[in-house]
Symmetry: C2
Subunit: 178 residues, 2 copies
């Protein structure tokens, strides 16, 4: 019993001709997925990022670029490795991102006198000006995301997410490829 060929016994419960495999929008049973933290995190993150992309489409800025610009804004003179470590971006992957920011005149690499291997990162005037717009866009975006959970919900969500992150390990302690 229960030892038939896979291909044979699996083909039962095939929808009958009149049965309609499922009423079209048939509320598929997702099982325990909606109770799985990782599943909900992924859906929520995708939804929020999509709102982010819509919100920042007019300025053509993506989440990673926003994060890098913000870190440089708050820490002018940081090197690429330091930005990489701070944001969990591989050094190798930061190169193209910075290239685009630099070619758009938003940020730049400046030589470091004390270590000629490194570049110190700064925002340009245009970059600083853009950040004001980005922060305004961000306020509206964040309001949209958290409008339904209210200020207390927002604080609680942040705390819970931080605890989840802490429970596992930050998920990107190694930015290096060693």
């Amino acid at each position: 019993m229960e030892r038939q060929s896979r291909l044979k016994n699996a083909a039962r419960r095939e929808p009958e001709a009149g049965e309609a495999p499922f009423a079209s929008q048939p509320t598929v049973d997702l099982g325990h997925l909606p109770e799985l933290t990782g599943y909900l995190l992924r859906r929520a993150q995708l939804a929020v990022f999509q709102d982010f992309l819509r919100s920042y489409a007019e300025v053509d800025i993506r989440p990673g670029q926003y994060a890098v610009l913000t870190v440089i804004e708050h820490n002018p003179g940081l090197t690429q490795s330091q930005v990489s470590n701070a944001l969990g971006i591989k050094r190798a992957n930061l190169v193209a991102l910075l290239d685009s920011l630099e070619s758009r005149g938003l940020a730049e690499r400046a030589p470091v006198a004390s270590d000629r291997r490194s570049y110190a990162l700064y925002l340009t005037d245009d970059g600083r000006k853009l950040m004001q717009r980005l922060h305004a866009i961000n306020a509206a975006h964040e309001r949209r995301v958290t409008t339904r959970i209210g200020p207390e919900g927002r604080v609680r969500l942040r705390a819970l997410l931080n605890e989840v992150i802490a429970a596992i390990g930050n998920g990107c302690e190694d930015t290096d490829e060693s």
Copy 2:
């Protein structure tokens, strides 16, 4: 004032020779990023998915595969389009995923008598057997993720994430390319 060339004025506050650009693990200022819901969601999701990948490495199952297997398990006979819609996966991208599950003998496509364009999806015996292991692995994984926030924290986190998702729009209402 404030109208100098970008390249010129941006290169101030370059770390002096003795200054040390930043003490090595210098706690970089992330600005408002840690208060940004999307940023925390991304970090949390990455951390949880990494734990997922570690947990399921022994059975060589990835999050998308686990989701598809779970949906088929709970809805035997579903078509590929229905699974796509349920999980927000593009029809075109589900093909390779199902190919891998089928070639591993975990799931299979069965012809549908009432519509010869469609395939009804079923788990094989091996697939059903594997699901028991997957659910066991998942219990441990979920426990690890939510151990610090406790059962009430877990319920609250789910509710908050669902509200965030609902506030925006589920993020994948269109699986089709029309």
